[in-house]
Structures are given as C-alpha cells and as structure tokens.
C-alpha cells in the first residue's frame, strides 16, 4: 500500500517534470534563433571550424526547412546526446560538460552540507529566543547573505586569507608545482577547497537559516512540544528529539528546490578562484564565443535542477506522509 502510494506520487511528479524539461529544450532552441545574423553561428560558435562543417550542421539541423521541422530535428539530435562540438576544446560538448561538472560538485556538495548543518544549528539556537539580540542577528545575517554579490565575497576572501594573511591558496584546485598522488593529493585538493567552499557556504547559509528559523519556531508552537516539556524533558532533549526532526522537513525542501541557486553561486565563485568546474568552462566559453558549450551548460544545469526538484519531492514525501496522498507540490 505504502509503496504503491509512493509510486503514484513519483508518477505524478514525472508528469510535472517532463513538460518542464520539454519547455526547457524549446527555450534552448529559441535561443539559437536570437543570435543576430545566422543561427548557424549559435550552433558552431566563433572558433574556427573546419570547412564543410557549417554545411553539415545546416543539413543536420535542417536550417533551410520550416521552423517546426527544425525544432523536430533539434530535439532528435538532443535525444541522441548530440549537444554539438566545441572547437575551442576539441571535444564534444556533452563529454566536456560532464567532465567539468564533477569539479563543480566537489565544490558544491560539501558547501551545501556545511551550510545545511550550520543553518540548522543557528536556527535551533536562535528560535527559542525569538526577538532576542541573537535572533535578530540571525535575521540580519540572512539578509546580508541575500544581498552579497557572491563573486565579490570570493574576492574579499582571497584578498584577506590568501594575499594578506598567506593562509590559504588563492587559485586553482591543486598545487601546480608538485605532482602529488594518493592522500597527499586529496589533502592538497581539500586545502584548495576551503576558501571557495566557504564563499558558497556563506551565500547558502542565508537561505537555510531563514527557513530553518521559521520552521523551528513553527515546531516550537506545536502541542507535542508542550507535552514533551510537561513530561519534564530537558530543554536540550525537547529541541533535539522533538523539534529538530519536524523542523528538518522544510529545510530539506529548501535545499533541494534551491539547487539551481546554489549551482549558480558555485559557478560564479569558480570564476574568482579559477576552480576548474562548470563556472570556469562557462567564462572561457564566453571569451571564446563557444556558443554550443554555453547552451549545453544551460540545458544540462536546467535539467539537473528539474531532477533535483523531483528528488526533493520524493524525499519530502517519504519524510512526511501527509504529502503523498495529494500528489501535489508544496502541500
């Protein structure tokens, strides 16, 4: 029974996701046609391509055919995994992006985990003292986090900790002077990870703390908390055993739904730290006018965001039985 409900829920969410992904593909198709001049430029980019390649692309995408036929051909090409070829990188776009996405995830996932735990702990500490100086401090902090240009935050961290204090490396993902392997290599990467990860974390803690504070406040006002207190449980036990599990659900969803936001943050931070992930690929592709790569990054990140949304809904549904019955987003 329980399993079939969850399966129905999954089906409902996929019914939401598939049209959205289709719409994203169409948006990407439309982008090709906004380039001033020939759409062929959007499909190849400005990097010198071999002669004859333009004609081949023109034929593959049916650029001399009616727009609807073009859309059909475009979708078919995408279905075959053909996102084009990057002449600047001498590599197919799909492989290139997937390869760089790993590095972005190395930066993003620890930052997310750190931000989530920090945000929750801060909220647990602040919410029971609603209105106190500490609590307003937390609210102010999340406002500051929302207003900080993340790339500037990155620059400030570099100036402070790498250049003035010489504590941490300013650029890159590993030391260039030595060839390390095994554990020393991992430690070296971690060493380079600290500053950019910190930048993404600060940015993200703002969102988590705000939502976590609200949900802790909400949980605190529930009857079961009163019951727990009346039983004579210690404050700490009430907070950790009764408030936290209930307050976690909205936090999980806010992290999942903001996957795109944190991805964007990571991409901007990468450009400051020369971290070799998607952000770096993005900015070099802007410089090279390597349009297929730019579009590929948009396409794959957008699809990743949709998948993250569906995954979040599933986690949410398995945590909160009330959601499954409706099959709706945001119960």
């Amino acid at each position: 029974m329980r399993r079939s409900l969850l399966a129905r829920f999954l089906l409902a969410r996929l019914g939401w996701a598939i049209p959205v992904i289709l719409a994203i593909l169409i948006v990407n198709f439309l982008i090709i046609h906004i380039v001033p001049g020939d759409p062929i430029q959007a499909l190849i980019g400005d990097f010198p391509a071999p002669p004859g390649y333009a004609d081949q692309i023109r034929h593959e995408f049916g650029l001399d055919q009616p727009v609807l036929t073009q859309l059909g051909l475009y979708l078919m090409n995408l279905a075959k995994g053909q996102l084009g070829f990057s002449f600047a990188n001498r590599q197919p776009v799909l492989g290139l992006i997937l390869q760089r996405a790993q590095f972005t995830l190395i930066l993003m996932l620890p930052a997310l985990a750190l931000a989530a735990s920090l945000g929750i702990v801060m909220a647990l500490a602040a919410a029971p003292r609603a209105g106190s100086l500490y609590d307003s401090g937390l609210t102010a902090l999340s406002l500051v986090g929302f207003s900080l240009p993340i790339f500037w935050l990155g620059q400030l961290l570099v100036i402070m900790f790498a250049i003035k204090l010489h504590l941490l490396p300013a650029q890159g993902m590993f030391s260039l002077r030595t060839r390390l392997t095994g554990w020393p290599y991992v430690l070296d990467v971690l060493w380079h990870l600290i500053l950019p990860m910190f930048a993404v974390t600060i940015y993200y803690v703002a969102i988590v703390a705000r939502v976590a504070r609200a949900s802790v406040l909400d949980a605190l006002s529930q009857d079961f908390v009163l019951t727990a207190k009346a039983k004579g449980l210690s404050r700490r036990r009430v907070l950790w055993r009764h408030v936290l599990p209930n307050a976690l659900i909205p936090v999980v969803t806010v992290i999942g739904y903001n996957f795109g936001y944190s991805l964007t943050g990571a991409i901007l931070v990468e450009t400051v730290f020369a971290w070799p992930g998607l952000g770096n690929l993005f900015i070099t592709s802007i410089g090279n006018r390597d349009y297929p790569v730019l579009q590929g990054i948009f396409l794959l990140t957008a699809i990743a965001v949709v998948i993250a949304n569906v995954a979040t809904d599933l986690v949410y549904a398995s945590l909160d039985p009330r959601v499954r019955s409706t099959g709706l987003r945001h119960a």
Partner: protein, 274 residues
C-alpha cells in the same frame, strides 16, 4: 495612508534604506554634473592606493575609482528600476488575467511561469546576453522576462482572493463589465504586495546586472560596478581597492532595496503589527 506610514517608519532599517536609495537617485540624476574627473579618463597615475588625491585609488589605466562608483550608480539604478517596472507590469497583467478568468488560460500561464521559476535564471540570462551581444536594453529585457513570474504568481493569488469578496459582487450588480471590474476594482486592491515584490526585484536585477558585467557581459565602455569588479579580479594581488570599493557599492545598494522591500511589505500588511 497615515497608519501605513507610521508602520513603515517604525522600521528604522527601512527608513535608513529609503534615505540611501533617495541619495542614490539624486546621484544618478546628477551624473552629468558630478564633480571630479571623468571615470573614463585615462591618466598616468595608475594603480594608486587610496589617498587624498584619489580617495578610493585609481585603476590600471589611472582612472579614478570613486568617480567610477558614482557614475556607476546610473547604470545600476536604470537596470534595477527598468527591469523591475517591466517585470511588475507584465506580471500584474498576466497574473491578474489568469487569476480573474481562471480555466485553461490560468493553467497555461501558471505552467509557463513555473518553467521560468525552475530554470537557473542567471545562467539563462548569461547565455542569452552572450549570444545576442551586450547592451543595457537587452539586459533589462532579459531580467524582466525572467522575473515576471514572481509578480504574476503573487498577483494571481491576490486576485483570486479579492474577486470572491462582496464588494466585487456589488459592483457587478451595478452592471459594470468584467474587464472594467478587473481593472478598476480588483487590481488596485491587489497591488500592495506587488509593490513589495517589485522592490525586491530591483535588488535582484541590480545583483544580476552586476554578475553579468562581472563575467564581462557588458559593453566595455560602460561604467558599471560589475565591470569594475571584473577588472579588479585581475589585480587582486596588488590593488585590493579595485575590488573592495565597487563591491561595497553593490552590496549596500542591493541590501538597501531588500530592506526597503521588506519594510514596504510589512507596512502594507495590516495584519503584521510592528
């Protein structure tokens, strides 16, 4: 009105933010008459640290940073206000129509809005600007296209609530036609939360424009804060002032609009007592 103002002014941060925004507007209006050197003017005094001659230092071409920041106000505010205004108008019209008439139109509009809310908007904006070429009008258009769903959703909800209220029925009994009821009775009563959302969009738009310029997606001859941070990035090692000051300008301005939006939202919501 009076009570709304009293509620607003009880938010000290909001009042402070409003004063700061007003100051920025004055600076933007006075841009052609600002004292000090032209921010595009190249000089021999390159990479000077902050001093009495150049309060916030100079960049690699000897251009005055303070002057650049003051002239940059115009770009940031223009983009912020224009994009927010456009997004708000589009969002109000679409959201109100969808909410009032409902049905298939509502379904379609909300689906489209949902797609725009799901896609990583900054990446989409950057791709569009990279492909279509830089230019303030393009940047404003792109931001407005990405931001209208926020307003539309809010507006739709308000309109759906208001259209069921008694006074709307009363007007309908007077024989007023539906589109007129929507335009003269429903929309004006639904605008309050939209005003707050619009102010928050100004903040987002300024941040987004700065990020685009930071990636080099603005015309090189345009004096903008993000552009200054873009060149600051190359000189982090020897000229901290090229990053610290323009970034502070972005941060304070975005913060001010965020505070202002929150204060407006709280002041217009009669249920929230400050």
């Amino acid at each position: 009105m009076h009570r709304t103002w009293r509620r607003f002014s009880s938010y000290r941060a909001g009042v402070l933010a409003a004063a700061y925004v007003l100051l920025l507007v004055l600076v933007a209006l006075a841009t052609p008459f600002l004292p000090g050197p032209d921010p595009r003017q190249i000089s021999n005094e390159v990479m000077q640290a902050p001093s009495f001659a150049h309060l916030l230092g100079t960049d690699e071409l000897g251009r005055d940073v303070l002057s650049g920041i003051l002239h940059g106000v115009e770009v940031s505010l223009t983009v912020g206000f224009a994009a927010a205004l456009a997004a708000t108008v589009i969002g109000v019209v679409i959201g109100a129509t969808a909410g009032y008439y409902g049905g298939a139109l509502d379904l379609l509009v909300m689906r489209i809005a949902e797609v725009f809310q799901v896609v990583p908007s900054f990446i989409l904006a950057a791709v569009i600007v990279a492909l279509s070429g830089p230019g303030l009008t393009r940047v404003v258009t792109v931001i407005a296209l990405l931001a209208w769903p926020q307003v539309a959703r809010l507006m739709r909800g308000e309109v759906m609530r208001i259209k069921g209220l008694e006074f709307v029925d009363a007007v309908r009994c007077l024989g007023v036609r539906e589109p007129v009821i929507l335009a003269t009775e429903v929309i004006p009563n639904a605008l309050a939360p939209v005003l707050a959302a619009g102010t928050l969009i100004v903040a987002q738009a300024i941040l987004l424009e700065a990020a685009l310029s930071f990636l080099g997606l603005s015309s090189a001859d345009l004096v903008s804060w993000g552009r200054m941070l873009n060149s600051g990035q190359r000189f982090l090692y020897n000229a901290w002032w090229l990053s610290v000051f323009p970034g502070t300008a972005i941060f304070l301005t975005v913060l001010a609009f965020n505070l202002l939006g929150d204060a407006i939202g709280a002041a217009l919501n009669p249920r929230a007592e400050a």
